[in-house]
């Protein structure tokens, strides 16, 4: 449906904010966000059919709160690192000063965990930096880039080499597209440019799209000679192989893309029977391009979480793969299998209140599972919000799925790991625990005495067993309250009393003048007394 926005002839994908209307700063109810997002209208517009209630230009823009103050978060360059450096027989060349490579030690942990989870041999990631210096900023660094690409080829004999642009090299105008093309001819393997400079997009998730666009253009087989009718592409990150037990009873095999895969596994994705994902934020672009340009159907269904989501997802998979005859019996037997245990967990988790702070669609997934377990969700936070996904298919509207299935969430926030906002949000909701991904969030929660469950294995929540796994994990982390309590009593947060006394973490966006009026301990002048009223 969103064909207009997809063009594999171009070296780069359009930013997520332009393609999907992504926002990073918002607060309200899920019901309101759903209305403002106008998924269907936006989908029609993207398909070139007018849409957005006939509004043009700005009319389609989702209202966003503009914060005058922000904290460090993450960039799309870091995201492409998590993707293409984790292909086992390819190499990444980063065309940048050395600091752009500083996330790699952590990525190496997740990479090796992924390999272990998928039964592959451990391997230290292979990423070369051109290590640019001041002179390179003045005189350009294309010669260094060429040399480094050749080094990568000689050292590792990779199947493909990715080349990542960064802030500096974008500003000084390094042409990585031409250089890559030149080296591709010279070396005889794909040399794939990634225009992923950190300042490029307001949200890091554009990095996923950049990596996906690149592998779709350069690695995925354009004209596959055969079809693998039992192969399902799972667009994933580092998660354990919980999709195999879910799909094997239907006689299906999984093909995990991109992390932990090798070149051939990615190449064969156009031979698969269908594509699906554990998270629409991540898989939206890849699955849609495979559907529209390669003829591999996408599973148009809610994501496989909770009873309802998993049921519908399995049915959709069965429809595409011709397994409709067995799927209902399978679903029924699975319900019967897990229900006693889930009921037991529901009893133990009764009365608990949870808070979810993760990537956008994945938060919807976790919320589904927590609600199935009977846990109350009065508030949650996502790091961005996509008002529509690339397919434009209403079945992928995951916000609508949770809002309609499990009820409205009154205090729903979009905030790009802005730690200073979290204190006020948690104070309002008062959860018993918080489920997180990404760094920067949990340290505030634990200092407030709230234990956190970091979901490092994002597949833990998938399917019927996902409800059991998450329920058990929550029971375990509740015990950590003791640690949080001691911390709360002895450790101070780095925020002023004035800020911590604010009830609305978006007050500085709504009323920026409040900053001028706020007290500080350095200047003893011009303070108005009206400040606290806003608090």
């Amino acid at each position: 449906m969103a064909t207009k926005r997809i063009n594999l002839d171009l070296p780069s994908v359009e930013n997520r904010e332009l393609r999907l209307g992504t926002i990073i700063s918002w607060n309200g109810t899920t019901g309101d966000l759903l209305k403002e997002s106008d998924y269907e209208g936006r989908s029609e517009k993207n398909a070139g059919k007018g849409g957005c209630c006939g509004k043009k230009g700005e009319g389609c823009k989702l209202c966003e709160l503009n914060l005058p103050f922000t904290q460090q978060t993450m960039c799309c360059h870091a995201i492409i690192e998590t993707q293409v450096s984790n292909i086992t027989d390819c190499v990444l060349v980063e065309h940048s000063p050395i600091g752009c490579s500083a996330r790699l030690p952590r990525i190496n942990i997740t990479y090796n965990q992924t390999l272990a989870r998928r039964g592959k041999a451990p391997q230290t990631i292979r990423v070369l930096s051109t290590n640019l210096k001041e002179n390179d900023m003045v005189f350009g660094a294309t010669a260094k880039l060429k040399k480094t690409i050749r080094e990568a080829y000689e050292r590792y004999s990779p199947k493909a080499i990715f080349v990542a642009l960064a802030c500096t090299t974008a500003i000084i105008g390094e042409d990585i597209v031409s250089t890559s093309s030149e080296l591709q001819d010279e070396l005889g393997i794909p040399v794939i440019p990634l225009e992923c400079e950190g300042f490029r997009s307001k949200h890091w998730s554009t990095g996923f799209d950049i990596a996906q666009h690149a592998v779709l253009r350069s690695i995925v087989k354009k004209k596959p000679e055969k079809k693998q009718k039992d192969l399902i592409n799972i667009f994933a990150l580092y998660g354990s192989d919980y999709f195999t037990p879910l799909l094997k009873p239907l006689g299906l095999r999984v093909n995990y893309i991109i992390d932990g895969a090798d070149y051939d596994e990615i190449a064969q994705s156009s031979e698969a029977a269908a594509t699906t994902t554990f998270c629409h934020t991540l898989g939206s672009y890849f699955a849609t391009v495979l559907e529209e340009k390669f003829g591999v159907p996408q599973i148009h269904a809610p994501m496989p979480y909770g009873f309802k989501g998993t049921d519908e997802w399995l049915r959709a998979v069965a429809r595409v793969t011709g397994k409709e005859d067995v799927v209902e019996e399978y679903i029924k037997s699975e319900h019967e299998r897990v229900l006693p245990k889930i009921n037991e967990l529901r009893e133990k988790l009764k009365g608990l209140k949870g808070y979810v702070a993760t990537g956008s669609a994945y938060a919807h997934a976790v919320i589904s599972v927590l609600r199935e377990l009977g846990i109350q969700i009065d508030g949650s936070l996502v790091f961005h919000h996509d008002p529509v996904y690339d397919s434009g298919d209403p079945n992928e509207n995951s916000l609508k799925h949770i809002n309609d299935t499990y009820g409205e969430i009154p205090d729903y926030t979009v905030s790009k790991t802005q730690q200073f906002q979290l204190f006020g949000l948690l104070k309002r909701v008062q959860p018993d625990f918080i489920v997180i991904r990404h760094n920067a969030i949990a340290p505030v929660a634990i200092r407030m005495g709230i234990p956190s469950l970091p979901v490092g294995d994002e597949h833990m929540t998938v399917g019927y067993d996902g409800m059991i796994r998450l329920g058990e994990a929550i029971l375990e982390i509740l015990s950590r309250k003791k640690f949080g309590k001691a911390l709360k009593e002895h450790v101070k947060l780095p925020y002023t009393d004035w800020w911590l006394s604010q009830d609305d973490p978006f007050i500085i966006a709504k009323h920026p003048e409040i900053i001028d009026e706020a007290p500080d301990k350095f200047t003893a002048k011009k303070k108005k007394r009206s400040v606290k009223k806003n608090g």
Binding site: F69, T70, G99, C100, A102, T148, P494, D497, I508, T523
Partner: protein, 447 residues
């Protein structure tokens, strides 16, 4: 030919340091100081990974990690300039962040587009806010260069021109780079303990043994500056000499073990010109304690049947590599098989450091190599002469493949370190050396 070879190795795989903006962590190490990252949205976050998370999981401190206020330079700022956003970030930070000192670190993108950071910072400084700015563009140098840039900026802009009486026996301690040295917290504590034991008053600028900005304000009062590091901190000592007329004592070898620590104390006491009675009494007690434990490990070292390491291979920053190599070579009697400094030591300091290694012990001389590229370091390790026994690798988590290949013993000693959670630990001084021995020989018995 030589020139050609040099050019070839300018790329880096498996980096062992971050870039200059990593010095946000230096600011975090100053009690209640707040860094302001004037850079892209992910720059300081990345450095936090190499310097703190994947380096002993040291934590984000008071206002580090995700708490660091940041301009998050985006496309708009690249096109129209970032001054406006820096201004609003700073203005808000003074109200939202509870800090005593604010340090603006300017990274690559704003440096390239030429924002006038100084003008904005001076505006707030004139209004009475304690704020300074430092150049921290990643293309200008690594996190060690960034660290010196931040320290010197605070001295120049926050402490400023002060005329004050000097306090006899008060010393400013310039040793580890916070966070970059995985053990920095414990190291500062042990150095302070030793120097106080010797009768000095120690002004620590980082971590829990410091009083934050109060300690920094006290810098001009010190009788002298003590630089315990091969090169980091020398530019600061020179600046302080020029600014406040303070002499400095440079001790390139960090003291590890009784022999080096006792010599260290005597050197400092002599330089300070204080009475040495207290110091000698302290040395006597510490030495007795030290050899009490030494005796207890002697049985193990002399008759452990199941294989002890004889040769060691080390790659880390100059400070760690020199200090640990000296201890193992000169006091324990391990044989250096490969010694590599990976911190991109500035050229002007390299000869003096190489000289230290040449004279590392009366029967041993080391040809130290300066290599930054992890691929080359791992290759050098791979091709080393391993002799008969099990090799001991003192290196980083990047080096695990080569350690596995040679069935070696592994003690993480450099950045990055994904294999340990480090809180309060030191390998320095009398006590730290014993901890290091425990660590090394526990690896031996673990097999």
């Amino acid at each position: 030919m030589a020139e050609n070879k040099k050019k070839k190795s300018s790329s880096i795989t498996h980096a062992r340091y971050g870039c200059a903006i990593g010095a946000v962590n230096t600011v975090n190490a100053i009690k209640h100081a707040i860094p302001i990252a004037n850079c892209g949205p992910g720059c300081a976050d990345k450095q936090f990974i190499t310097l703190s998370f994947s380096n002993g999981f040291q934590g984000a401190d008071y206002a580090g990690g995700g708490a660091v206020p940041s301009v998050n330079t985006g496309e708009n700022e690249i096109v129209f300039g970032g001054s406006k956003k820096l201004d609003s970030t700073l203005k808000s930070a003074f109200k939202i962040m509870d800090g005593d000192l604010f340090v603006v670190l300017t990274g690559c993108a704003p440096s390239l587009i030429g924002d006038d950071v100084g003008a904005i910072v001076r505006k707030y400084k004139n209004e009475g806010y304690p704020v300074v700015f430092a150049d921290a563009a990643g293309f200008r140098g690594n996190n060690l260069i960034g660290h010196e840039s931040v320290v010197n900026a605070i001295i120049e802009q926050y402490i400023g021109d002060v005329k004050t009486e000097k306090t006899k026996g008060l010393v400013n301690l310039w040793a580890d780079v916070p966070y970059f040295d995985t053990n920095w917290k414990g190291n500062y504590s042990e150095l302070k303990r030793i120097l106080e034991g010797a009768g000095l008053k120690v002004n620590v600028l980082f971590g829990t043994d410091s009083e934050g900005v109060k300690s920094w304000k006290k810098i001009p009062k010190a009788q002298f500056n003590l630089v315990v590091s091969p090169w980091v901190g020398l530019s600061t000592a020179e600046l302080l000499e020029e600014k406040y007329g303070q002499p400095y004592l440079h001790i390139p070898v960090v003291p590890v073990g009784e022999k080096e620590t006792t010599a260290f104390i005597r050197k400092v006491v002599e330089f300070a010109g204080i009475d040495n009675k207290k110091a000698e009494k302290f040395i006597a007690k510490e030495t007795a304690d030290y050899y009490y434990y030494y005796e207890h490990i002697s049985e193990f070292i002399s008759e452990y049947w199941f294989g002890l390491p004889a040769r060691f291979l080390i790659a880390a920053d100059a400070q760690t590599t020199l200090g640990i190599s000296k201890f193992l070579t000169d006091q324990i009697g391990l044989i250096p098989a490969k010694v590599i400094i990976s911190d991109n030591t500035p050229q002007k300091y390299r000869d003096a450091i190489a000289e230290e290694f040449k004279n590392i012990s009366d029967d041993t001389s080391i040809d130290v190599q300066f290599i930054e590229d992890g691929y080359t370091i791992e290759k050098e390790f791979d091709e080393a002469d391993f002799g008969f026994g099990k090799p001991l690798f003192l290196a980083t988590s990047w080096d695990l493949d080569v350690v596995r290949k040679h069935n070696g013993l592994f003690v993480p000693i450099g950045t990055p370190n994904n294999f340990e959670v480090v809180l309060n630990r030191t390998y320095y001084g009398y006590r730290g050396a014993l901890t290091l021995l425990e660590k090394i020989y526990s690896e031996v018995v673990r097999g």
